[in-house]
């Protein structure tokens, strides 16, 4: 007997939750306990009075699984609202990465040149290293990091995706 592969599509979900102890474990645990994927997850207070947090989750699954994920998230008591930004329509997604590169000579010059092309900012520099800050789509970050591998990549830290709908309305 062989297990069949499953078709998956990528969705970005925005989840507004009560900012309370255990909420992140509740949301993340829902994904693991029901066998859903998490590609990235970000969370921070967005209310100003620490009452509400916004969680942005990038997940993948069949349309049926995505529908279930949304329904199961809405079933959690501290969840106020779940929006599937991918289904909602035009929206912007951004991610930030900190990229450390070490090297001298041509590698160092090439790293600086590429950073300039990709509009990465230098946050830290020594005679033998840089830390770049780069913001953009996950694809752009992937490409930049791949290029840095060739010129002395040391380590990377990424935030995961945050996203918001275009236009004047709140989701």
């Amino acid at each position: 007997m062989h297990l069949p592969p499953e078709a998956a599509e990528r969705h970005t979900l925005s989840v507004i939750v009560d900012n309370e102890a255990g909420i992140l474990a509740r949301v993340a645990g829902l994904f693991s306990s029901r066998g859903y994927n998490i590609e990235s997850l970000t969370v921070a207070d967005v209310s100003g009075d620490s009452a509400l947090s916004r969680i942005t989750i990038v997940t993948s699954g069949s349309p049926h699984v995505i529908e279930q994920i949304i329904a199961q998230l809405e079933r959690l008591v501290p969840v106020h609202k779940v929006t599937d930004l991918t289904a909602y329509g035009p929206h912007v997604e951004r991610e930030l990465a900190l990229v450390k590169v070490a090297g001298t000579g041509e590698h160092r010059i090439e790293a600086m040149r590429l950073a300039d092309i990709y509009r990465a900012r230098v946050l830290d520099a020594t005679t033998g290293s840089f830390v770049f800050e780069i913001t953009g789509s996950s694809d752009k970050l992937d490409t930049f990091i791949a290029l840095m591998r060739e010129v002395g990549l040391v380590e990377v830290a990424r935030t995961g995706v945050v996203a918001i709908a275009r236009g004047k309305d709140a989701v």
């Binding site: 007997m1 474990a25 008591v77």
Partner: protein
Amino acid sequence: MLTERPTEDKAQEKSGADWLIETLDELGVEFVFGYPGGAVLPIYDALFRQERIRHILVRQEGGAVHAAEGYARSTGRPGVVLVTSGPGATNAVTGITDAWLDSIPLVILTGQVPTSLIGTDAFQECDTVGITRHCSKHNYLVRHPAEVAATIREAFHLATSGRPGPVVVDLPKNVQVASAPADTVPDRIAHRGYRPAGAPASADIDSAIEMLAAATRPVFYTGGGIINAGPEASRLLRELAALTGAPVTSTLMGLGAFPASSPQWLGMLGMHGTYEANMAMNRADLIVCIGARFDDRVTGRLDAFSPGSMKIHIDVDRSSINKNVRVDLPIVADAGQALAALIETWRARGKTAGNLSHWWTMIEGWRAKKSLSYPASRAEIMPQAAIRRLWEMTRERHPIISTEVGQHQMWAAQHFDFEDPNKWLTSGGLGTMGYGLPAAIGAQLGDPEALVIDIAGEASIQMNIQEMATAVQYRLPVKVFILNNEYMGMVRQWQELTYASRYSESYSAALPDFVRLAEAYGWKGIRIERPEDLDAGIGEMLDYAGPVMVDCRVAKLANCFPMIPSGAAHTEMILQANEVSGEMDDEAKALV
């Protein structure tokens, strides 16, 4: 030096434990099922100092949760459990998960080590909120005595509203001891995002009525959601069925919502359902699912499930809709409110029952198969016959029946007829052996006058047999009717059907003498060994005023049929054992 507070303020100041008891009392709690331990001693002391709430001392925490479930399922009121930290909480986890899967309203109070010790691997510490996070509707760790009252109020609201379920409140010992003045205690903690579904959208009800009126082969497929919606929902279901003339089938959890004596009743559907119920589901042109969730025991093979029907699904939980089966008209609403709206709209639009005679002719043809028949025996007691006699001899008393899990459970569902809701207590979703005895105890406390019978198997009953002492302590005249076939019968049956009768570890070896065991606990014990002694044995059980355990020796190798084998369609029912092959392929073996 501490300043003295004004006297009136001091009088208002209460410990977390006292806030807890006061709030439980205010919420109308009659019984707390529990077991004491180090981390709940302050609560037990507060219980000791009052007389309104009655504590029921079980013999293992797992029994407390099932007893609370039995109380909740039979009375419609939330069950309350109190256990200590660590092993007290972990022993409760099976029951919490059971209540989660069957949507039973419970509030489980667990002791916890003092907040200063949390995370230090203290004595009897476990991460209760972590462990119960995904098997409860919600859970809390209370960090201040001022939060106790509001948390408990919200816990009851969550447990009983929307889709009911278990809510866990973890109470560190120092929070129980420390005090908070009344003016610092908020009324409620409101999760503003929690908005349980209530009334249905009227446009959806209009569409449903048009579909119902136009259907030529409709069937109502009902579940535990109707029981949870209260007795009025069961009454409304009967009214709607009468108006439309459509047949009614139900899941295991929904038995009793519709009377088994009605000619419109098809019996239970699904894996061990009747032929007519499953064939009606397969051939229907409209399925109206109310408070059920298209569970795998019900649907059989999904791609062959009711291929030609339109489907309406009424459920209070949106996540149940389109989870397993795509439906044409989802209605997220309380079952009772939806039923009331359907009836009102049916009448308002002047609808009358369509001509379903062709449909009923088809159904009568399936009924004629008599799928619940079983081989007769003069030498042995057939388990199905034992249950049928039990039903015939008790039906006038409208008994509450609980079960354990296995063949006896399915036989009870098939051969014991229910006329009313809240009379049938069984572990459907989780399938927890050991559920029935404590559940019977909880139900008996909820209705001291009722005849309460746990239909059990000799293997399951041993899983919570310690609760026999609880029944004695509180003088509860529960009856345990064991269908003893010396096997974990359902395991043995699957091994017979799927693994060429290789009976790996399914024999109940070294059984106790149940009659002497009963007597050791102070129960009456009765053994029934021959078919001709069945009536006398049941009669003796019913005549005895106290608790009775009946060891009814039944045919050892009887199988529970009809049966849809795992991975098969509704149309591929096995009606009798001679239709069964000895070994199944890997795909069938991989299904549960």
